[in-house]
Symmetry: D2
Subunit: 411 residues, 4 copies
């Protein structure tokens, strides 16, 4: 099946079953620190309630697997697809995105019952080889929503003047290994980009194709809070010449003077308000801020192609990624983890890209306008979800994800 | 004390204690059909979460009674006044009104604990005669919020596509007694307006003063759904000449074509979606709609003075008012009850009006701009709360309260 | 004819002819300092281009006099009624108010030709007695637009960073006569309000009727720039407790800290930027500002009824009013002139008010919602236009008219 | 000088002088059909008044040539740089873009006098070889504004209900030569992109660099009105699946159902309202519309690199481009002319791109965010202005330029 671009390894279906069950269980554990009310509120149109994430990912399996492929399956509730479809036009009318916070009903318990119902029915499909790609897509989809659930609840809790914590942050200090790595240099030339062969990938990662690169170098680590403080101290947010025109307008209109979640000496984290660690990677910055910082530093953002080529041989499951609940970037010497890394690349289709037929074809292609590509993985990304060819994308002003910055320069 | 304008009858303090306890208990029972999530969401900036109403009314007692008058009282939580102050500038900074729906914490249970704590401490003040007026003000204040809690949760549940019910509606059909009453005629002349003498009243009801009235007549009952259907069928919402200029702009911009909560043949009620009763009073109409209807009917809205004079000898506790939970206008032959009745009077200070000193002086006076007076009481008004001199007020476009219309004409 | 409420004095038609010709000529002279471009631009939706005022007042005569009453009259241009109808719904669709500044065509010269054409045709109607009331209405209408033309062009020129002058200001210093007048005291009681008998009046000034007044006093002169400076120095714009709730929100949202057109030590006038005269009346203030000042001064705004009763025997044509081109408030001991004076009265219909039949019935009645009454006359009011019963009205936030403040207090 | 990337051919300065004089004269002739009022109005924030274009292009020469390089030069008016700086932050504060329509002063005549003054002073610099690149930049800059002047005045005249014409359209029917050309096929491979060597180019066209292309084909001609009618008839504007997500939101919010300037059977042109020619290229479409059409047609938009490579050997001065006043796309067999052609490429910097030092460095680089590249030239482009490496760019929703569409497909 085109969308998922998976290999057909023997024994995959068993592993897929296990992965499905682990995934579904992990999502539920993410809401364990939350009350029904916590899981209901929506703090901005870009964010969704935790409860909605749990239900929407379940709707995905119910719709594209159970409804379409399990004979005799009855919907858990016929009114719910209207509530929990996100943006699939082909699936009909749906509840307005900005009004997801109005759904005090169904309750969190009812949503959990929905999950159990769908999980039970899914057992009948997990072994069907011809559905493996679609199930893998559903898993990858839910992993994405696990990350969104964490960043969305962080935003919601931050808007509460009481500043409640979602959970405990890891207390140990990571070996950041700054000394270990030098600038990552690359001689340029023709490089292969995109996914090919075994393993799952989204449709926006294919077809694999060649690009021409000039010689470049990537910074060995992400820009830190200490460095960002220097940017601020040097008037970075008040110097028009450092900014893209749209970025400067955004700074002026929103009176931006620091990353999101900063206040004097502190930052809001999933563990509540904490003193900022100067050596940790700066996070919650927009593309505009990342670009201005790079200009200030006399460098630039990497392209998505440069980043992908540099990361080809790195372990995508290494670094600071999400294994449990409360997460926070602390820094490491890895290419993956801590923060998604803004590139200067616009999110556009690869040559000969074709969306899949049907509703799942709306997964990626229609968003290829006005957004920027991010590479890597963040502290909130389920470990194992990302890879070198992965293309994350957000609007250039958005910064409630764990976004950060790795510098590049020409050689 | 000026604000409350109460009489000092012997034994009042005991009755005040009983009223306080009954009031506080009634508020809690209003949230019995609601989950923590239901009580947390805010469906528009004009509305507040149910939980917030419970906490804000408690903050009023904690601040103006316990903090100011109970030696050694410690705040339940020092961070909560910031959350639950509504608009008292003299009480300092406060949480933004439009962001009240972000407060998933404190939980409903914590708010109920807050109420119990304050209720306990209040026992030490209930017998103090010099505080009786301030306590009576706190009671009247909480009664207002009981009505708002009902209208706000109605709005929130309506925004849920599942259309959940808050509770059961009364099933019995009321004797509407239409035949009983004819037009209420009045010969005009000098009349006394406003509150004087015994009993509680808000500061906006004084000083009592004289006004000159022309001869007029008031309709014996409220305009009904059946009559409103005729207005619609006659093109009422499409005929510019019937509308105030601001009203016509409001109709155009918001594509208004029916009262709030109407859909084909049905209306949303606290009992969920129900078939509309043609003989019940029309409700959830704006001042603009009421004015346009009156013009269409060849009549006009009454002034607040006409209404008050006509109602002087009516029982303000009669009619369809709130005794329990789910409420709905069904019609009666009374002047009070079913729906608040729009007047053509702007909400302005009475001659020689003076706001009270201190924060409670912000209770009414500062809102005397741009709003319209409503008289009577609605099905959601706690029975006993209103009186002939009562001045309710809302913006002319607002219609999520149980608002209705009684016609007037010149004699 | 009801609308104009005029007397039928012998010889009126001749005088009406003369008044018509003088009026029409005066309007044209108002644009003598303006280029076609000056007369085309629209600086905000509340304001209209000078050219539009010239054409719209002509459209009024063409439509309600020539078209309706002159046999065989042909429209000057059949497409222009669409352009120059202001708000008469009964006259059909019209050009959007906010887009009046798009009309670089027709040119100012073409509009002047339109005026000449209509003036010529009007000669055939000026002697017809049965049209005298309608012609008087057209004259009063155009006088209103003469004032708006001046206040609108002032706003437009102010928005130009070059700060061009419309004309020379009168240089002589007026005898302000402050000493001459004491507080104007009135014992209260029953008073007649509104227009009755001979002379033109708008429909909103009738029917005459009685009101009851409490004893009050009016300040002998308008509040001055010097006094306003003291209000500012005392933190008037930063003290929430002085303001109506809507007013405080307006101050915060718009960062209001001074009257419109003020900058350090200067004010923009029709003569360009000028040093402020501390003894001249403060002008270009909103109702909110006027109300806050009165509260700060320990007084209040008068009601429209108090003002009218106090002014009954004053000469409405005295004081600083408009005789020529450039105008500015300089102060005088008169009740009329310099600035329109905000009252605390909402703009509402008088008892038994009925709009006229047909399109001219839209003149006043439909605006009776959300606005405040102003009394007197300003330096831009054509001398002879106003009278004690005159009811001017604007939104409480508007301040581009020559608006000012006279204090009142209870006796 | 880096910015202009010009060759230093002998005799260039003389030709530059001639080009300068011809350019300056051509700009003035563009306003010959306009009154001062026409040249003053601003119909939307994206557009500027004709007068402003004349003055701003003059300010560019006055600032970067005369002020910086002509000893003893005195500014024509010291207050005007504030008015006529467009977006150069390094040149200080400036008049708000959206308020350019407030400038009834200076008059068109005064602006023409400004032009004459600057032109005279420029004679002293035209022969200086070291300034040739900067002068060439000023010329290219003014050519861009000539095109904007035409598209902006078209928009302004369209907003006038009278629909006035700017001038006569060419009446002759062009030989469109559709039969002449087949699909333009290209085998892909490594191609050089960007400007190198002799001749002027903007800084965004360099450095020249290599890209890898897949085999592709370009349509021989632009999509026509007839074809667009078929798209509409087939429900193109109502079919979500054809649109980018941002595009679909734009269609919904703005109720888009046809290209800009269309009404039943007609289109607004610089010659007023005209019957649409079905064989002429469709124009005034957004990127979103172009992309949706291509999807509907089973094809795609070309990349900017594909277009540039295909056009390398075409004559950039051929086709329907601007030689005189009134212009309109009529169709031809050329790659250049008629309409700017949307590509699927985001407007991003070329590898090793560096903005110039100083204020002129703000010319292009800071706009490299959120915009789309267009290639070719339009009927309003001064003939000789464009070239194969030229990168025009606009926001994907903008469509008041003469924008059109050439299809591409993979081979
Ligand atoms: Fe999803
Ligand atoms: Fe309250
Ligand atoms: Fe008018
Ligand atoms: Fe420019």
């Amino acid at each position: 099946m085109d969308l998922a671009h998976s290999s057909s390894a023997a024994g995959r279906s068993r592993s897929l079953s296990e992965r499905f069950r682990a995934l579904r269980s992990a999502s539920v554990s993410l809401v364990s620190p939350l009350s029904d009310a916590d899981a209901t509120i929506q703090s901005m149109p870009d964010a969704s309630p935790a409860k909605w994430h749990l239900a929407h990912t379940t709707w995905f399996f119910e719709t594209f697997l159970l409804r379409d492929h399990l004979g005799g399956y009855r919907l858990f509730d016929e009114r719910w697809p209207y509530l929990f479809n996100s943006y699939y036009e082909a699936e009909g009318e749906r509840h307005a995105r900005a009004a997801r916070g109005m759904l005090s009903r169904p309750s969190l318990d009812e949503v959990l019952a929905y999950r159990a119902h769908v999980d039970g029915a899914m057992e009948g499909l997990l072994g069907r080889e011809e559905l493996a790609d679609l199930i893998a897509l559903g898993i990858a989809h839910e992993e994405q929503h696990q990350e969104l659930l964490l960043t969305d609840i962080k935003h919601a809790l931050w808007r509460n003047p009481l500043g409640p914590a979602y959970g405990d942050l890891p207390s140990g200090v990571m070996d950041r290994g700054e000394g270990a790595l030098g600038w990552i240099e690359h001689p340029g030339g023709i490089a292969m980009i995109g996914h090919k062969g075994a393993g799952f990938a989204f449709d926006n990662e294919v077809p694999a194709h060649r690009v021409l690169l000039e010689p470049f170098a990537l910074s060995p680590r992400l820009v830190t809070n200490r460095e960002w403080d220097a940017f601020i101290a040097d008037g970075g947010y008040r110097t028009a010449g450092l900014w893209l025109s749209d970025g400067w307008a955004w700074v002026q209109e929103n009176a931006i003077a620091a990353p999101l979640y900063w206040r004097e000496g502190e930052a809001f984290t999933l563990g509540g308000w904490r003193v900022r660690d100067p050596e940790a990677p700066v996070t919650h910055i927009s593309h505009y801020e990342a670009d201005a910082y790079a200009t200030w530093a006399g460098m630039r953002l990497p392209t998505e192609f440069e980043w992908e080529v540099a990361a080809r041989n790195s372990d995508p499951a290494a670094g600071v990624q999400c294994d449990g609940l409360a997460v926070h970037p602390v820094g490491s010497g890895q290419l993956f983890g801590d923060c998604w890394q803004w590139t200067r690349s616009a999110y556009l289709p690869y040559p000969r890209f074709r969306p899949a037929e049907g509703a799942v074809g709306e997964y990626n292609g229609k968003f290829m306008s006005g957004q920027c590509v991010l590479k890597g993985a963040s502290c909130a990304t389920p470990r194992g979800h990302s890879r070198a060819t992965y293309r994350n994308f957000f609007q250039p002003y958005q910064r409630w994800q764990f976004t950060g910055l790795r510098l590049a320069r020409d050689l």
